[in-house]
Subunit: 334 residues, 2 copies
Amino acid sequence: MTPPAPPSIDILALGNAIVDVLSHVDDSALEGLGLSKGTMTLVDSAQADRLYSALGPGVECSGGSAANTVVGAAMLGVRTAFVGRVRADQLGEIFTHDIRAAGVRFDTPAAADGADTAMCLVMVTPDAHRTMCTHLGASVELGPDDVDEALVRGAAVTYLEGYLWDPPGAREAMRRAVAVAKDAGRAVALTLSDPFCVDRHRADFLDLVDNDVDILFANESEITSLYETDDLDDALHSVTPLVKVAAITRSEHGAVIVGDGEIHVVPAEPVAQVIDTTGAGDLFAAGFLVGWTGGRTLHDCGRMGAVAAAEIISHLGARPEADIAALVAARVPG
Amino acid sequence: MTPPAPPSIDILALGNAIVDVLSHVDDSALEGLGLSKGTMTLVDSAQADRLYSALGPGVECSGGSAANTVVGAAMLGVRTAFVGRVRADQLGEIFTHDIRAAGVRFDTPAAADGADTAMCLVMVTPDAHRTMCTHLGASVELGPDDVDEALVRGAAVTYLEGYLWDPPGAREAMRRAVAVAKDAGRAVALTLSDPFCVDRHRADFLDLVDNDVDILFANESEITSLYETDDLDDALHSVTPLVKVAAITRSEHGAVIVGDGEIHVVPAEPVAQVIDTTGAGDLFAAGFLVGWTGGRTLHDCGRMGAVAAAEIISHLGARPEADIAALVAARVPG
């Protein structure tokens, strides 16, 4: 087998194309809405409308987990592309503008009709934690034909968000992307996204991790949900033999990176004030993958993830506001 | 003449109904775009699209000068209403949600077709100053029939933004509102909005100030533009005999309030870091008018404006994020 050609891009991400609507709620309001704090709930259009009308004034910002990651990676200087579906509406234009303006190649055609561009109601509690309700909208229109095989073949890493297992067409798109990436000798990365999402798709995720995933991202509750255990060590023992690298984020306790027969415990980057944890995992993955595609040590990869995550939790929204390339260069010199 | 009945609301604002798209630019980019820093330029749909595609990623937030004022006033606890036109599109839904969620009565029907909801591209330079390009869109559909006369008759203050002189139908709506308010013995307040806007409508503004305005808001460049002088004192001498109160904002130098035969120099409220000056004048007007309708001294009115303005310039966007009622109560105890 001939080694693969040098990659033409560094990170290709496939994900739901979402605009976030961020608002502040207190814990009792969250409870009154029947939502489980810190998680993502799928809602239909009527539920989204009802919920939105119960919320206070908002701020809108492009989002989507894998989209946030690839925007962060682009801002860190690597070559990136994104596959996901918006509708040709105002929120779709905003999403498309923002991701392209960040330097990400984004060519998936917008749906001309059907459901509106996906919207995520992000409710931020006073402790800076976020709870999300997503109306997938036009994201469900993504299908396997949207996967540009040449793009996948040329990408050093194809990065998938677990959330994309929810829309059935998108799931097929993921499967095609995985098959093409593996055939081309490229790396596949997956984030488990959310413990309830893991619950919905455990068999698929176990199968993917077993057979296809090279780099796995998860937080504690997601990885323990995957292996249906209460114990992080148990989960790590289960996953370690199956993937090249597992990066487990632990909020203010930093991250644990397992790979190459080593375990690296990476501290969290200090933050003056945590404002909104939306996108923390997404930006950790961005920093980590930029390190990984740049041949950095696993410890440095983790540190780069931690610095990018620290920036995103220090303000509202999941897209970087500061020059994260400068922050990473200063904090994790190469 | 019988005195007017007790007001049923405190502040009614008429203005352009706008969603802001905030992004960061440096001074050279602003110059390259041919824009005059610190001002508002009207653009058509094609110009807005061209400009938007030249800008970096953005954050969307409801805006509109008078709308920002009345949202701030509602958050400060007074009874408010807003008249302005959106289209029935996604940005129109966002504007409508946000202003109602803040507690403002907003019943102007959305346009079913025609131009999109108005959008303002707000470019924030590293010195935190904002430069704006506005596509008036559906705002131009506002007309005199949208003025609810009973609402105007019941409002202690009818507040008008100078920007509303740009769309001709809105101008007629303003004129009707002014006539009704004066006939009902209520106060009329006007903000001059922008020095270029003053240039476009000087004769109308001079006439309004001469005959109808009780409370005038302006910054230094707007009031000196109105009287075509370089000297603030000259402008103050011109305006003082014509209005009950003139509140002239002077950025970090605070404000000068002239009224009741007195001049009050009000210091600016200290701010840890100025992030974005968008909405500073709008929130000054909010705090001031809440003080005025509550019977506070002119000095307290100015201080209340300064505290509200300080909150808005300490973050991105022109809608308050902090509890400004608590801030005002703490800083300007009544």
